[in-house]
């Protein structure tokens, strides 16, 4: 499902190469940039208010086991964010990413 959303996003944004992935796919400690948020109006607003907007640098600190939430650093503060929501945050894929 994440993949299909991802593809839809690629088409919508007209990216040629799929150099994007969900935040959940990031490794621990990986630093990357937000490309977009693929969520509903309210969730998007909430995230935007917290600084999760395109272009923002975001660092995944760690994640809880068994598909638990993620701990991320954004705009200088640490946030815990549910996995469902995190999977809707699309980020840039750096070289190390093997998508």
């Amino acid at each position: 499902m994440i993949r299909s959303m991802n593809e839809k996003f690629v088409q919508k944004k007209g990216f040629g190469t799929p150099l994007i992935k969900c935040l959940t796919k990031c490794k621990k400690g990986e630093k990357t940039k937000v490309i977009g948020v693929n969520a509903g109006f309210r969730a998007k607003k909430r995230l935007a208010n917290l600084g999760i907007v395109p272009g923002t640098t975001i660092k995944k600190k760690t994640e809880a086991p068994f598909h638990g939430p993620l701990e991320i650093i954004v705009k200088g503060s640490t946030l815990a964010i549910g996995r469902g929501l995190a999977s809707k945050i699309i980020v840039e894929c750096s070289e190390i990413c093997n998508f």
């Binding site: 939430p69 815990a80 469902g84």
Partner: protein, 748 residues
């Protein structure tokens, strides 16, 4: 812009009207009567004493608003290192420099968009007529996120002071701020504060006087000098010779005009253009919109953002609905232009502006190589996939072990003392003396029972919970438990009120307001009300723990937590809707502040003493009277089908379980009193299996009276009743099952 400014002025003047009019009239009268200038100064002073300034403390969660509030008012709002402690607005007063200050502590929020319950509380209050001035409390270590909210507040165009708090931490990191520049940028007072030490807190009030009474927002940082605050400018209203000057200034009555910040708060050309258009439309229909307290520009932005609450304002008649249409058109244009949703566009712009400000004003002296701090290391361990859970387990077990060890030791001492005192008293006055029974066995027995059986457990318990709260561990627990909590229909944050519920269910149930939706709040409340609180823990530790060992205590707690999980699953099924996702800030660990911890532990223990001790002493006497007149028996007989037949308990406990609804610890205390007055020990009164069943029933059978009331207040009476009935049923079911299972096993 000009038009807007005027409208704004009008609004402010309307807000200030009664006060200002009084001024003007008095002033004119005094001028007419030609009193000497000296007398006039005295009059002015008297006037000043009558004024009230309403201050609202607003800002992100966990920035130190409540610390400032407590410093100013001397009250004791909950303080701790996790977001969402203050859930309802709280008022306090103080007199300072001859003015009466009315201070309001608000729940911390991230933006003025209405998303959660706290945000609605805060926003509604901030825009209400009552607020004269906002103190925007900002966490210096987290400027970027905090200034986002500041930008939103600025749009409300209410007089504002920026209090940059936690400067001690920032400076420890070898970072400083250029306050002079900040003040220049915002054209409003910007002050450094260290709330926990009380530094700069009262200066905020001086600034408020300046802004609200004298309408002088001017910079206080000496040009070219150090970043030092110029104090002299503030106390001129105290110096007699300057009174006249002030009086003269007043005769020209300046109204506070919110500074023009259009160069700071700008959302980019395309957005600004459309906002300007919308402002024009709104201004044209001022007859209608002026009844709301919002500036036109704020309305324009929010209608452009499609804010649910603001749209309600516009859904009035054709003319206002027309504006919605236009806003929709503009929104679409902008979204097409940027390829982003409108909130994202505006938020990005704000964060861009903030970034520019930070570049200019943050003076970073940190060396290039930054070592991982101890706080980060602890964070790493406590959120670790395996280590984190081990620590969580240890913390929970640790809470109880600590409480038990300290409580048991002190309890033993108190009991010994009571025994030693009893012997000479019995010897002098006789054991069967009615007064000895009433006053010593009843009243003093209750007193010592409460101290030795309850208080000695309660104090270490509160202490350790305060340490947990102020260290910043709670959000980590929420992070780790999020996955589990989703299985029972809520997200990780619920674990926070639940852990606090170990202390007392009453504030914990109120704290469930941190949950974002009504459904989650309701489930959280139900679960929290089942958490064994300090009083219940006392009963369990003092009875089962003391006589049967900690293993059985663990057994009882496992049953209790299984019940919580079970109920959660059921509520999740029964209640319509789905659980929302966790979003929560995790603040850095902090060495708990000794002052804060001791004060809060003291406050909570004191409350316990003042509320519980009188009840216990009175009930101790009542119990003795009932024993003398044999009144317990009828009640106990009525209850015996449940207590004796179904649960297998001694008949005497029936009435205690009823008292237990009032306060749970009463079940044990009264039992102890009864045992003393019958000349027995508890071991002779109850068999081990009876102790286990008795404790289990006490743990589960009903939330205490105060909790039921708070549940009703947070939700409704029907829900409070439902929870109570459900818990009674569960307690009887499990208690009965254990007793009958045991009997069956024995008879085999």
């Amino acid at each position: 812009m000009n038009k807007k400014g005027k409208r704004k002025r009008k609004k402010r003047s309307k807000r200030m009207l009664p006060l200002e009019r009084v001024y003007q009239k008095r002033h004119e009268r005094k001028l007419r009567s030609k009193v000497s200038s000296e007398k006039r100064a005295i009059y002015e002073k008297e006037d000043a004493y009558k004024e009230t300034i309403n201050i609202a403390l607003a800002g992100n969660p966990n920035v130190g608003k409540s610390v400032i509030f407590n410093q100013l008012t001397g009250l004791s709002q909950t303080i701790g290192n996790w977001p969402g402690k203050t859930v309802e607005k709280m008022e306090g007063y103080l007199n300072f420099l001859g003015y009466h200050f009315n201070i309001i502590d608000l729940p911390g929020i991230y933006s003025l968009s209405t998303y959660s319950l706290e945000e609605i509380v805060s926003r509604e209050y901030i825009i209400s007529e009552e607020v004269d001035i906002i103190i925007n409390v900002i966490d210096a270590t987290n400027l970027e996120r905090n200034l986002f909210f500041t930008f939103q507040l600025l749009e409300l165009e209410v007089p504002m002071i920026l209090a940059i708090n936690q400067m001690d931490i920032l400076r420890k990191r070898k970072i400083d701020l250029d306050f002079k520049k900040l003040e220049k940028i915002f054209k409003l007072p910007v002050l450094p504060v260290v709330a926990v030490h009380g530094t700069g807190v009262h200066q905020l009030l001086e600034e408020a006087i300046e802004l609200v009474i004298y309408h002088h927002p001017h910079s206080h940082y000496i040009e070219g000098g150090k970043n030092k605050h110029e104090h002299l400018s503030h106390d001129y209203h105290l110096r007699e010779e300057s009174k006249i000057k002030i009086a003269e200034e007043r005769s020209t009555l300046k109204f506070f005009q919110f500074p023009d910040l259009s160069s700071v708060i700008s959302y980019g050309k395309e957005v600004e253009l459309r906002i300007k258009d919308l402002v024009k439309l709104i201004d044209e229909y001022r007859d209608y919109f002026s009844q709301f307290n919002y500036p036109s520009r704020f309305l324009a932005i929010k209608i452009l953002e499609n804010d649910e609450e603001i749209i309600k304002i516009f859904n009035f008649d054709d003319k206002s609905k027309h504006i919605i249409k236009i806003a929709e058109k503009y929104r679409k244009e902008l979204e097409d232009l940027h390829g982003e949703d409108i909130n994202t566009i505006i938020s990005s712009e704000i964060y861009n502006n903030i970034h520019n400000i930070i570049e200019k004003t943050v003076l970073d002296y940190t060396p290039e190589t930054i070592k991982e701090t101890l706080a980060e290391k602890i964070d790493h361990i406590t959120t670790h996939s395996i280590g984190g859970y081990v620590i969580l387990g240890l913390v929970l077990v640790g809470i109880y072990t600590f409480t038990f060890i300290v409580g048991d030791f002190l309890g033993g001492l108190v009991e010994e003392l009571f025994m030693n005192l009893t012997i000479p008293i019995y010897a002098t006055y006789g054991e069967d003396n009615v007064w000895v029974k009433l006053l010593w066995d009843g009243a003093m027995g209750g007193f010592f029972g409460a101290i030795g059986g309850v208080l000695v457990y309660v104090i270490p318990f509160f202490l350790i919970i305060e340490i947990l709260q102020d260290s910043g561990y709670l959000p980590r627990a929420a992070f780790l438990m999020d996955r589990v909590m989703h299985a029972i229909g809520v997200h990780g944050k619920t674990i926070i009120p639940m852990i606090l519920g170990f202390g007392c269910n009453v504030p914990a149930c109120a704290g469930c307001r941190i949950m974002e939706t009504e459904r989650e709040k309701k489930i959280s409340i139900a679960l929290t009300s089942l958490v064994p609180c300090a009083a219940v823990t006392t009963v369990v530790l003092g009875l089962v723990g003391r006589y049967l060992g900690l293993g059985w205590v663990l057994f009882l707690f496992i049953i209790n937590f299984s019940v919580i999980l079970f109920i959660g699953r059921i509520l999740n099924k029964v209640m319509p809707g789905e659980s929302t996702e966790l979003i929560m800030e995790m603040h850095d660990y902090r060495l708990p502040n000794l002052n804060v911890i001791t004060k809060q532990t003291y406050m909570r223990s004191k409350e316990f003493i003042f509320k519980a001790l009188p009840i216990i002493i009175v009930l101790g006497i009542v119990l003795e009277i009932m024993l003398i007149f044999n009144l317990l028996e009828p009640i106990n007989i009525v209850l015996s089908p449940v207590t004796v037949f179904w649960l297998g308990l001694p008949i005497v406990v029936g009435v205690f379980l009823i008292y237990g609804i009032l306060r749970k610890e009463l079940t044990l205390v009264l039992l102890a009193i009864l045992a003393t007055s019958m000349g027995l020990t508890i071991l002779e009164l109850m068999t081990p299996i009876q102790m286990i069943v008795f404790c289990l029933v006490t743990m589960l059978y009903i939330p205490c009276f105060a909790t039921i009331i708070i549940i009703a207040k947070q939700t409704n009476w029907k829900y409070a009743l439902q929870i109570s009935l459900m818990e009674i049923a569960i307690a009887l079911l499990i208690g009965g099952a254990i007793f009958w299972g045991y009997s069956f096993f024995i008879n085999l």
